[in-house]
């Protein structure tokens, strides 16, 4: 209990740890517990009959199968595309690298459902390609598995790309050169050295993408059609059928594979990585033959072309009078964004701006405690704070409405519940950034401050904080983006008084008001880019690359 005594000697530190521990319990653990409780307790008694109902009939099991199937396919497709993209940029020396990298960050900073919106604009029943190019002769069946694979692969491959880029860049150039030097052909170098060394990264990418696809809500709610998936079904059970225990049980069923994948990634795959430390920077990387380079360039162009086509379609769609019928250009949708959507915009920006700095500071404090301080329950604090990252938004959202709808924690309908949700959903981002930054700082610098008479709080404020400022701001940038584009969890806690732009866009898509939805989405993207630009100018560094990495990790 030496640690305990040491902490008690520093009341500020002890109080901070106490407050954070209580908040994490209240806003992370307790809502999850409520979901679990709702699914197994009926009339005050423990029962599993909700699960029995959901899993006994083949029809009821469909969403689970579908989610797992979709997750697996998207993980495979997204990882494959991401790896090729990363290989092209890190090894094949393709032209226009910057352009490809910038395009790959588009899906990260845009709201999740924009790609689905574009898919409908292009390939839906009134879609541009369906109607104009094929005269309605061909139905691409995008409502369902096919469409979801398409949009989720585009949405999540950047994560795989960033993970694999990191892996490829970390491989000591001497390894591939050794292989070539010992007589291997370029293909043998790839097969015997590069690929085996990429495997831990590939496994990590597969698991992360699997989790992202399972947790995705924005795309399937628009595009799933009759292909029912867990996240959407859980939502519909609660909002449509007002079946809370059924919704909660579906949420738990959704949570389990996600948690397994997350824990596998965190505790198993990450241990297996062959991080090699390079001796000295090599003048150049081993490249590939011109044919392979051209092939990879074409692939990158294809993927980038698809991204451009999708986003371009949304831009075009936002200026069209009535998609599918009247392609006259107009700005009326933008006018109504500010007329009818002004309130949503205002609410969203206010709530996100409130949540972002608190998220950033909380993340930094937790990172500091976890990296630098010894105290009872430290491991638990670390795990808990990262938990919300792995838990699908749908589960968190259901947890929040169950946990905070009665006194003394009556928060439903308030701005507070949205802000709290934002904070605890995004705090892992800030923690990641903070931990990474802190591990770069020699503890001796902080010890010097303590040595000169500063207490824990003062050391943190005057020494540590300034040193981790860049990480702090990139954490801020990313959590702001996540707040602005959030949908899966917040859809449960918005209210008449406080509503969000993403929810409004979803409503427009459901009403087939596609051009209006497109205009809203672009205004949202513009606000996000503006905020990122401001933060970037403020810090003078590329926040997006860091961000992507955080998303990937």
């Amino acid at each position: 209990m030496d640690g305990l005594r040491k902490i008690l000697r520093e009341p500020v530190l002890a109080a901070t740890i106490g407050v954070i521990a209580v908040s994490l319990f209240l806003f992370v653990i307790y809502p999850l517990f409520k979901v679990f409780q709702m699914s197994v307790v009926e009339d005050g008694r423990f029962t599993l009959h909700v699960y029995g109902d959901l899993l006994s009939k083949a029809f009821e099991r469909r969403p689970l199968y579908n989610s797992l199937l979709l997750g697996t396919l998207v993980a495979l497709a997204g990882t494959a595309v991401g790896y090729l993209f990363a290989f092209a940029i890190a090894r094949a020396d393709v032209p226009w690298k910057r352009f490809f990298r910038v395009l790959a960050t588009f899906p990260i900073i845009s709201p999740p459902f924009v790609l689905s919106l574009a898919a409908i604009l292009l390939l839906g029943r009134k879609g541009f390609i369906t109607r104009m190019l094929f005269q309605g002769q061909w139905d691409p069946h995008i409502y369902g598995l096919r469409g979801l694979i398409l949009v989720e692969t585009i949405a999540f491959f950047p994560t795989a790309f960033l993970i694999m880029l990191g892996v490829l860049q970390a491989i000591d150039p001497a390894l591939e050169e050794s292989s070539l030097n010992l007589g291997a052909t370029r293909w043998q170098v790839f097969r015997t050295v590069t690929l085996p060394l990429s495997i831990p990264g590939l496994a990590s990418s597969l698991l992360v993408l699997f989790v992202e696809s399972l947790a995705d809500f924005g795309n399937p709610i628009i595009l799933s059609g009759n292909f029912h998936v867990l996240s959407v079904q859980a939502y519909l059970h609660i909002t449509g059928m007002v079946d809370f225990s059924g919704g909660a049980a579906l949420a738990v069923i959704l949570l389990l594979p996600t948690l397994v994948a997350f824990l596998l990634q965190k505790y198993w795959v990450s241990r297996k990585s062959y991080v090699t430390v390079t001796g000295k920077p090599s003048p150049g990387r081993l490249s590939v033959d011109p044919f392979t380079r051209r092939l990879l360039t074409v692939l990158c162009l294809g993927v980038s072309g698809l991204i451009l086509l999708f986003y371009g379609t949304v831009v075009f769609g936002s200026f069209v009078t009535l998609w599918g019928a009247d392609y006259t250009l107009t700005v009326k949708h933008y006018v109504s964004v500010f007329l009818i959507g002004g309130r949503y915009l205002r609410d969203t920006v206010i709530l996100a701006s409130l949540a972002t700095p608190i998220t950033g500071i909380l993340g930094m404090i937790i990172a500091f405690l976890v990296v630098r301080k010894q105290f009872v329950g430290k491991g638990l604090m670390d795990l808990t704070s990262m938990l919300t990252f792995a838990v699908p938004g749908t589960v968190v959202g259901i947890g929040y409405i169950l946990a905070f709808n009665e006194r003394p924690l009556l928060l439903t309908g308030t701005a507070a519940i949205i802000v709290l949700l934002f904070i605890f959903r995004n705090v892992p981002v800030g923690i990641r950034a903070g931990v990474a930054a802190l591990q770069q700082i020699d503890p001796a610098i902080e010890e010097a401050a303590t040595n000169l008479g500063a207490g824990s709080g003062r050391t943190f404020a005057t020494i540590t904080l300034p040193l981790i400022t860049p990480a702090f701001f990139s954490g801020l940038a990313y959590s702001f983006v996540r707040c602005m584009t959030a949908i899966s969890a917040v859809i449960f806690v918005v209210s008449g008084r406080w509503n969000l732009i993403t929810i409004a866009i979803l409503g427009l898509v459901e009403n087939a008001d596609l051009s209006q939805a497109a205009a809203f989405s672009l205004v949202l993207i513009a606000i996000v880019l503006l905020a990122l630009g401001l933060i970037q100018v403020g810090v003078g560094r590329v926040a997006t690359s860091q961000m992507g990495y955080e998303a990937a990790g």
Partner: protein, 362 residues
């Protein structure tokens, strides 16, 4: 078949990215490495030595010039066809393969039958003193052991040329000395043509048949270790190899292989070839070639400015006529070192002096 390496007027220009201009890394390098000999490329970082090595290996294509092994022109031959095994600074061991698989890698690529691979890996591991480590992963070996695995892996394919890229710089000082003797022993036993890149002059001195001193992409001098040390041709070589005192002077008279040189402290007679009266020169005086004498004796008079005690020897800084001379004295056990401002005489043999050209105006 001769495995001599011949470089003809090699140049390498790296184009800067985004219009940052280009860098001439290697500038008109011609060199012959005799069959079975070990040549070191020695120079400070950025002198182009590694780029030369990488052009021999085929990792970089020369901007101009040709590379030959024996009579074969290999300038355009891909790296994997050159049979030039490289030992890397970071060892380049495959972390996902055992020692056995690492060493046998080159043979597997060449589709050598498995029983033969087993036998050759075993004997190669014995040769480098690592028998019994076959099943371990590189991460389970010490730095010195990893280095031996890298060496074994490079040797097993019976390369025509062995290339070393600062292979010892990640080892601690003692191990470095031991490993370089071992590398030399192996290289001489196998009679394998070797090119060895280093920035460590001790390493170059102990290992090489020939030392090539490089600076700013150009060869400064090629010679045996003795030649490089005792008869450097440029100020850079003289300064880079060992410690030296440089006294600015002018040649006044040349006769019979000796030059009469005027310096601030007077006139000295120096063994010299190829200098003419009026040439501006640096007079090179090695610290160990200077002796201290009692005040009043010796050639020049001076005072001790500082003394650095190093156990087996003492370095004195001696002020002579406004210039500081570094003097190395083997430390006689028990004798009291001289103290600051003690007056001393400075003695040296004119035969140990050496001239290098001096540029500029005077």
């Amino acid at each position: 078949m001769s495995n001599a390496v011949r470089l003809e007027r090699l140049c390498k220009v790296f184009e800067g990215r985004g219009g940052t201009g280009s860098v001439v890394a290697v500038d008109d390098v011609s060199l012959e490495v005799k069959d079975g000999s070990l040549v070191t490329l020695l120079g400070p970082s950025g002198c182009g030595k590694t780029t030369v090595l990488r052009m021999i290996a085929g990792f970089e294509a020369p901007t101009e010039g040709e590379v030959f092994i024996g009579d074969e022109r290999i300038t355009a031959l891909p790296a994997n066809k050159r049979r030039t095994s490289m030992v890397f600074q970071s060892y380049g061991l495959f972390p996902h393969m055992t020692v056995f698989d690492n060493v046998g890698y080159g043979l597997r690529i060449r589709k050598v039958p498995a029983p033969e691979i087993r036998a050759r890996v075993r004997s190669m591991l014995e040769l480098v003193g690592l028998a019994g480590t076959e099943g371990r992963l590189p991460s389970q070996l010490s730095g010195g052991q990893q280095q031996r695995v890298a060496l074994a892996r490079a040797l097993i394919t019976e390369p025509r040329v062995l290339l070393f890229d600062e292979p010892l710089s990640n080892l601690d000082a003692k191990l470095r000395v031991q490993m370089r003797l071992e590398i030399r022993r192996l290289q001489q036993r196998l009679q394998i043509t070797s090119v060895y890149v280093t920035h460590d002059q001790d390493e170059a001195m102990t290992l090489s048949d020939q030392v090539v001193v490089m600076h700013q992409g150009r060869i400064q001098q090629v010679g045996t270790p003795q030649e490089i040390y005792s008869r450097p041709r440029t100020l850079f070589v003289a300064d880079f190899i060992g410690k030296a005192n440089f006294l600015a002077g002018t040649v006044r008279h040349v006769e019979g292989g000796r030059a009469d040189v005027e310096i601030a402290q007077g006139r000295v007679q120096v063994p010299a070839e190829g200098f003419r009266p009026g040439d501006m020169v640096w007079l090179l005086l090695r610290p160990e070639a200077i002796g201290l004498a009692p005040a009043g004796a010796g050639r020049w008079q001076g005072r001790i400015a500082a003394a650095t005690y190093l156990g087996s020897e003492i370095f004195y800084e001696v002020m002579v006529g406004g210039q500081t001379l570094l003097v190395k004295v083997g430390h006689p056990q028990g004798a009291t070192p001289l103290g600051a401002s003690d007056p001393v005489g400075v003695a040296f043999d004119e035969g140990s002096l050496h001239l290098v050209p001096r540029e500029g105006t005077a």
